[in-house]
Symmetry: none
Subunit: 205 residues, 4 copies
DNA sequence: GATGAATGAGCCTTCATTCAT
DNA sequence: TATGAATGAAGGCTCATTCAT
């Protein structure tokens, strides 16, 4: 009975994408996915090990690309010689933002999966993870530029955490609301300005 | 038998609170709740209609109090004569913040339910709802004070939406991370300042 | 839809008995049991928690009765004053045998379950368990009567274990082969004599 | 691709041995075996027909050697002229025992498979089969030596069956408990003596 | 001969909900 | 009103086996 069906893997992934996007990870049904993909439920296990493996296969590349930016971003920034002020930081920050936006609009569905449909998977706290990177990076930056409030111990980790979390949640709204690329990029610029203003004036009152 | 046990309803609610907090709405089991409350699963249906009704009973009062602040807050503000500038807005805003913080620390569990454990219920998008109120309020305010950027059509609804969403997500971090009252209030003040700075300088560059 | 059906529990147990006897624990299917009992698979879980719980419900009483004989048997024997020789032991042993045979022929199916169909359950090593009791009892007996070979260290635990195991396996053949009561009792007497002979002459060569 | 890997068959058998020993026939997984053997599951079917065929390939030689002893043993014994008494029988019996022990300790894993891991295969009743041979042999012997109890019809087939079964179960304890060779041989001698004592005194009271 | 993806029936189990008592 | 057994669909997952390549 075992037929060699071409494109089964692709069909499964495509249908899984639809199902996860529509219902979220927990409520998604492998049976439904298999039925829609016109294959047997067992095939999913052959190809992807299990439910989480299937979800993983859809997002892992994008996840790695995304986190690589954050993990390596910091390093790159501080290796750069001209970084001792808000402007250079802003420039660097904008470049990075650009790259992330490129990624988002290259893989919008994968991002939606990660941001909005990952409850129940190991990605469900992805924003917290990004916040972790960002806070570390921010602290190092404040140190390097010798920010007074920060050096005076006036800025706690928790506050930076909240601020950063707030930022990412705002940022990923363009995903949550399926904002078209042009519009999304525009608003992210504005949002970045808003945010940068707040940060600068808050740190240097 | 029909034992008339005093406080059955309360026991159910108490145990439901624990279960929902521990597992979230979807993964919570009515059987477990009934067992812990030493009652029958059927009782839950008699008293609360169904699973969502039970969840509802735990959060509805707080939910109404919370949304009332937002729904009526605006009205109150604009009925007030002296509101035509950032400062009066800030003052009003801070008072409202105070009230919400009071509410949060009076009903911390209920808030956690609403913010962190409501996936699968009609409350799962509560932040978006608050954002809706806030954006409407903000727009009216910007109009009233005659903000130039806004009047020039430079500030879109979507941007305000993102900004507001970002704010609430940051704000509710104190709930997500079970921040103790004193600490929480402190960070909210800082966060509000950060945010207010951003807003002011972004709107009046 | 929930009907109050009388005798469901009994029907489930009856059909489970048949299924477990026919296929053994592992290969038995709860679906089949439920279908035969004309009920829903869920009912099994309502009543018996799970598959092992269902099996358990069928054998636990008999299991306890059986092990009680062994656990308490020893105590009773050694509390008895006249026990210092092979004859009193034989008499006691025969009385106990009688009781076990009574139990077997009162609950033949339950014994078959325990002896022949319990692979996969916690009862799968029941014979080893009985052997454990028996060996302990035998050692104490040999000590009390001052058997020379035993006191000389000539009889190892392993040997007693093997002998005892051999005994029980022979004994339970009447269950494995569904021997009718009259016949079974007769053969057990003979088998006991055979065994007793071996034991006596082996211990006192 | 069809790589011609030398020893695939051997690797499959080796890994199957491990898997069957660890999990028993029923719970063993062909996928696991194939994976460990670094081959495809299909290869198992090509070479061994199916799961039972694979198990069979591991034990069939030893099984045949073992049963040959029993099937031919009898013939040999009765062809021998000097056999008309317990002593010659004992001598013959001991020689045969020796050969079986040699076999066991030459193929310990195969024996464990047959005795402890064969539930679900056609070998699961191997002890009963051996018992069959043994009982036939014993009966003929009792007839030849003119044992009175037997000739008087005092000794039924069922009793001989039980006794024999008891013997084999005791005997194979050395396999069930992985007894090392030296120890095993020692206990089998003791056990044989125990058993022989019982038999002799029971038949000639 | 080797491959290993596909099969699809089957497994045990969980759950919110219903309703006769 | 309270009970809690019964429901039955649905869940994720495993497996021996087949067969096109």
């Amino acid at each position: 009975m075992a037929k060699r069906i071409k494109g089964v893997q692709e069909r499964i992934q495509q249908c899984a994408m639809e199902e996860f996007l529509r219902k979220g990870y927990i409520d998604a049904s492998l049976r439904t996915i298999a039925t829609n993909a016109e294959t047997a439920t067992g095939s999913i296990y052959t190809r992807f090990k299990d439910k989480e493996g299937l979800f993983d296969s859809l997002v892992i590349d994008v996840y790695h690309k995304l986190t690589k930016y954050f993990a390596h971003g910091e390093t790159q920034f501080f290796e750069n010689e001209v970084h001792g002020n808000f402007d250079s930081m802003k420039k660097f920050s904008n470049e990075m933002l650009e790259k992330i936006l490129d990624l988002i609009y290259e893989y919008p569905k994968e991002f939606k999966l990660l941001i909005s449909c990952s409850t129940g998977t190991k990605y469900e706290n992805i924003i917290d993870e990004l916040v972790g990177y960002e806070v570390a990076s921010t602290k190092r930056f404040l140190e390097v530029i010798g920010n007074k409030r920060y050096l005076a111990g006036d800025i706690s980790d928790e506050l930076l955490h909240i601020i950063s979390n707030s930022y990412f949640n705002g940022f990923f709204e363009i995903i949550r609301h399926d904002m078209p690329e042009e519009q999304g990029r525009k608003y992210i610029i504005d949002f970045g300005n808003f945010y940068g203003s707040g940060f600068m004036y808050f740190m240097n009152p």
